[in-house]
Amino acid sequence: MFYDHLKGHLEALLFASGQAISLGKLAEILEIPEEHVNSLLAKLQSDMINSERGLTITEVAGGFQLCTKPELADVIEKLVDTHEPNLSVAAMETLSIIAFKQPITRQEIEVIRGVRVDRVLNTLLERRLIKEVGRKEAVGRPILFATTSEFLSCFGLRSLSELPQLSASISPNIDE
């Protein structure tokens, strides 16, 4: 096709960036319209399906990112151990609450979990999975927390709408 000579450019850009690059940024650098970037990405992606290739493209919040194929994880793990340690049960529960009810205060999280969450919040902040997004207009003006784009890419989500669904069987209130 028209822009096939740019496939190598695209691959090199994704490689060099390391992080996700937005469609807009790619279009700007390659100096072609976004829809053509999209079709180039699709072509590059389908070239990579070949079993002799080890890489693939994932789409996460913020754009497109080059990474190794998931089926090769066992081999890669022999080389690098880049993944951060898993989140504790407490951290994962707290993160889930924030993801669904953001923006939310510490006190509101504690009502749901029934325990103090100061330390868990610090861990989540340190790992940049959540951030402070302002203060609630309430007594004491407590800090509001929300998830970050790192949160999305950590879980391979393009947006918050891809979060797992709350199970329908549980209605929050019997009276309803």
Binding site: G18, C67, H83, F155, G156, I170
Partner: protein, 237 residues
């Protein structure tokens, strides 16, 4: 000891413990046998105590809540009034447990998502030097304005400070210093160089008078309104 450490891992909060008891006993969450659950809950706290584990206050608050619900359940039911059916004392707890359970389930799904994601490996970005284009569209005026803005703000500071700080003593030292640097003769106006404020001029005059009284200097003026010259006395030179 092995077992207790596993237990404290699981029950890191009273709600987690209650959920465990409900699941273990296969209890309908909408109809919790409060007496049984309360007993088991208290037994667990007792066991924690025997292992010398600090019981977080959250667990004690829940124990009190359970006991309160239990006692309300034991009270003879008053006839429901016409306005409303009496609320089940367990209702609030049930709501809380349901919401908590919902997020526990979500957390499990999130963990699966993360494990899937962990099978993808990324790489660090290539380190590229930052580009530093020179600013554009600046003129000499921008530079002068920036400097003038500073000058005004610092001038204010000096005004406040000098009124306090230019003492006659300082001014005497200034004048002697300048005289030594200027071969023993200097124009009076040259001795006013700090803030050029009225207070400096006054301090300067007083300093001159004092230096004359001490016979360190003498003053000459050729004619009216001509420059006042300050001259160091010979014995000082």
């Amino acid at each position: 000891m092995q077992e207790y450490s596993i237990k404290t891992d699981i029950f890191e909060g009273p709600l987690a413990l209650l959920m465990h008891l409900i699941n273990k006993n296969e209890i309908d969450i909408y109809d919790i046998p409060i007496a049984i659950i309360t007993e088991q809950y208290l037994n667990y706290l007792q066991a924690m105590k025997e292992f010398n584990i600090d019981i977080a206050s959250d667990f004690l608050v829940m124990a009190a809540t359970l006991l309160q619900i239990k006692s309300r359940m034991l009270l003879p039911k008053s006839k429901p009034t016409e306005e409303e059916i009496e609320e089940d004392p367990r209702q609030e707890l049930v709501d809380q447990l349901l919401e908590y359970r919902q997020y526990k389930e979500i957390a499990e799904k999130m963990r699966v998502l993360q494990e899937q994601r962990n099978r993808y490996f990324f790489r660090q970005p290539v380190l590229l030097p930052k580009r530093n284009p020179l600013p554009e569209g600046l003129t000499l005026n921008d530079l002068i304005n920036a400097f003038a803005a500073l000058w005004e703000s610092t001038a204010d500071q000096y005004a406040v400070v000098t009124r306090e700080q230019i003492s006659v003593q300082d001014k005497m030292a200034d004048i002697m210093y300048i005289l030594h640097k200027s071969n023993g003769k200097v124009d009076f106006s040259k001795t006013i160089f700090r803030s050029r404020s009225r207070s400096e001029v006054i301090a300067c005059f007083l300093a001159l008078l004092e230096l004359m009284r001490l016979q360190r200097i003498k003053i000459e003026q050729d004619f009216l309104y001509s420059p006042i010259m300050i001259i160091l006395r010979k014995e000082e030179a």
